[in-house]
């Protein structure tokens, strides 16, 4: 369970306030998606949520612990979608290696492109000489 006790608001209030803020943003996002088309409603909702937080319509300090908890645990929601790979045994048997190779190659192309371009074109004031880990 989320550890909300160290925050000044009561856990129930934090939960309800955050659910309300997210529901309002999602609702507005879905309405936007219905009129604008193109992007999914949830993405419009994310942008609405950011704008509402920026203009302090919702108090970011109250929402913060709930969002930290959501982001930490949201991975479980993607498991059922991932299990759907079960329907693709034939595809994996035939092309599994090619698919992994495409993912591997394109990930490294993107890493190299962004890394090298930023190293050359961004103003890098801090240089990290520490090895990772």
């Amino acid at each position: 369970m989320p550890k909300f006790s160290r925050f000044k608001h009561k856990p129930l209030f934090i939960c309800l306030y955050s659910i309300f803020a997210i529901a309002v943003s999602l609702g507005a996002g879905k309405m936007l998606a219905a009129t604008l088309e193109g992007l999914p409603g949830s993405l419009h909702g994310m942008i609405v949520f950011t704008v509402l937080l920026h203009f302090q319509v919702f108090d970011a300090q109250i929402i913060k612990p709930a969002i930290t908890w959501i982001i930490q645990h949201m991975g479980v929601c993607f498991v059922p979608a991932g299990v759907g790979i079960i329907n693709h045994f034939e595809l994996i048997q035939q092309h599994g290696l090619a698919i992994v190779a495409i993912i591997f190659i394109t990930t490294f192309i993107l890493l190299t492109f962004v890394g090298l371009c930023c190293e050359h074109f961004c103003q890098n004031k801090t240089v990290n000489k520490q090895p990772g880990g």
Partner: protein, 244 residues
């Protein structure tokens, strides 16, 4: 959206959701304890649930219907990602030109190459859509995949793999090609390996983490904006081209 109808269905649904959450949490605990990035709870849960479904001969559709409430939480999860975006706004405002141009070019490059390679090797448009959207964070990747008629399960799997490759080999690779600044390393890992990569690189320094999360958020938004048009164009190009 279909809800379970009978009491037995509701019971199955509750049990399967509880089992999925318990499994995921156990792997999450294991990963936290061992500190090994490849013990990814999402990947391991999927790899355990698949043999279970095969052994019990439960069709995937039944499992998917029973765990639908978990799926319904995907939309609010995407909205919640607006919070880190809000936290990064001041940083974005200061350097938006360079960061946006770099990430837009990066997204254009990776979507085009992934789509073309998949079409040339596999000639399978649905999978090409899924693999094109693998560099961004899962909730947005899945939302875009359903919007663009890709295959969500392949996208989910590809996103985890892209995350693992970047998280495990990315930092060493960047050093090997002489990319040393925290900004360049953070942006590259965040753009290519989303949250998984960012979580790993955050351990190096706070700056790495900040740029990693900045890149993962902007990449997701940029991809959401350009992918519908770009993928449509590529699909028309390939179906016309291959169809001849």
């Amino acid at each position: 959206m279909s809800f379970p109808a009978s009491a037995a269905d509701i019971l199955t649904s509750v049990l399967l959701i509880l089992a999925t959450i318990t499994l995921y949490q156990s792997f999450a605990w294991l990963q936290k304890r061992s500190g090994r990035i490849w013990l990814n709870p999402m990947l391991l849960s999927i790899l355990v649930i698949i043999p279970c479904l095969l052994l019990t001969e439960m069709p995937f559709q039944q499992f998917y219907r029973a765990t639908e409430p978990l799926n319904m939480l995907l939309e609010p999860a995407v909205v919640a990602l607006g919070f880190p975006l809000y936290q990064q706004l001041s940083q974005i405002a200061r350097q938006w030109k360079v960061i946006f141009s770099l990430l837009i070019l990066g997204a254009l490059l990776v979507i085009s190459i992934s789509f073309c390679l998949t079409m040339l090797l596999l000639n399978y448009p649905q999978i090409a859509v899924s693999l094109s959207l693998k560099s961004i964070t899962t909730p947005i990747g899945l939302a875009l995949t359903s919007e663009l008629q890709g295959d969500t399960s392949v996208t989910a799997f590809a996103i985890i793999l892209a995350g693992l490759f970047g998280a495990l080999l990315g930092p060493a690779w960047l050093k090997a090609i002489n990319v040393h600044s925290a900004k360049a390393q953070g942006l590259a890992i965040g753009a290519a390996s989303h949250a998984l990569g960012t979580a790993t690189i955050s351990k190096t320094s706070y700056e790495h983490g900040a740029y990693g999360s900045l890149a993962l958020i902007i990449s997701a938004i940029v991809t959401a904006l350009i992918s519908p048009g770009l993928i449509d164009y590529l699909q028309v190009f390939f179906t016309g081209f291959v169809g001849i």
